[in-house]
Amino acid sequence: MSFWELIASMLGQGLVITLLTTVLAAVLALVLGFVAGLMRLSKNKFIRFLVAIYVEVFRGTSLLVQLFWIYFVLPMFGITMTAMTAAVLAIGLNFGAYTSEVVRSGIQSVDKGQIEATIALNFTRVQRMRRIIIPQAFIIMLPNLGNQLIELFKSTSLVALITLTDLTYQANVLNATTLQTTQIFTALLVIYFVIAWPMTKGMKLLERKMTEGRM
């Protein structure tokens, strides 16, 4: 294997881990964000309070510290997990907190007349949310959700610090062994950009497709 083949192969392996972490954490964040966002709109004060604690704790501390905590501190309380699980959990919980705010404000910005129309047509609350409010709120949320997805993707580089062998971790190893610092970190930069940029474009396209002729 030549020098450059070695670099490509190691970065390739790292990239797979990075993408896997991104996808899993994004799914977790989206689910958590919707659940927490809807709970934040509950009539029940206690439910709202619980969610507020979750959101404030995860927004108020840094993702890196959360990663350390879940991977290095939880084992002291008997909760051990792989670096991958810890990474997905920490990133998912962190971005879930932000996403819940996007979901909440998206739902609240749907025209109040839509609620009145569903009352006049005798919808239940659940039917109203599922059929009328969330589909419209989702379109409003889309640009923010897209931004968050890209932020999330880039933030996965932190998982290298809890020993997960992602793209950044592999680049670090290569740098330490080959000392080709400029080439390796430039390659790293380019790879992140080449993934993130089409993501931005893709979200724009999705947004346009979903609003075509409708709004």
Binding site: G113, L121, T124, I139, G213, M215
Partner: protein, 263 residues
Amino acid sequence: MSEPIVKYNNVTKYFDDLMVLDGIDFEIQPGEKVALVGPSGSGKTTFARLLMTLEEITDGTIEVAGDYLWHEKDENGDLKPASTDHLRKVRSNIGMVFQHFHLFPHMTVLENIIEAPVTVKGVDKKEAIKDGKEMLDKVGLLDKADNYPAQLSGGQKQRVAIARALVMKPKVLIFDEPTSALDPELIGEVLDVIKDIAEEGETSMLLITHEMDFAREVADRIAFFDAGKIVEDGPPSEILYHPKSPRLKEFLERFMSTQASPE
């Protein structure tokens, strides 16, 4: 006389400390068309919104088709606030057309119309599509079935909204200033559709309107609201041409002077 379809008993409504409706008694007979007129802020819209359950009642009761809307009887026969299920059951008799249409922007015209029958009533989708298309034909918009609301004119949107309310077969249909948000040249097509429905006769109607000619043509009765009370209530010929109270006279005079044609 048959049982009224809607009966207000001493209905009072406050918004915080502000009294909007002051102990109103009112009845609507099955099939009757009643126009509500009066200056803005007189309580006519709130009066109708209480019936649609868009505002909560402060005091008094409303009966719809013999059932309490905001209340139900407990085991001792005393009235208690209605459960959600009870409220929905009684509310199913009422429909409403809004000033600003409130169509579902993410659905096509036909989807807007079949949504409530399918989701709320559990009507078979094929059946709902058939009924929906019939209703669209009735309001003259069958060719717009696959368009989105954003692609329609205001008058067309309001006709879709009327069709959407009608497919739920309400016993009472409320129109809350249905033409106030429309450009003048689009008002006629909407009024024509409402007149057609009125002529069919079965549905009781509550029309909040500033179109006096239209009220005269369509309504069996006109109720004049002022300061949270119904000041006068009677057939259009009485209300419009022989007003008794000074407030109604004043209201009509102001109206005629702004509405009079220049010729």
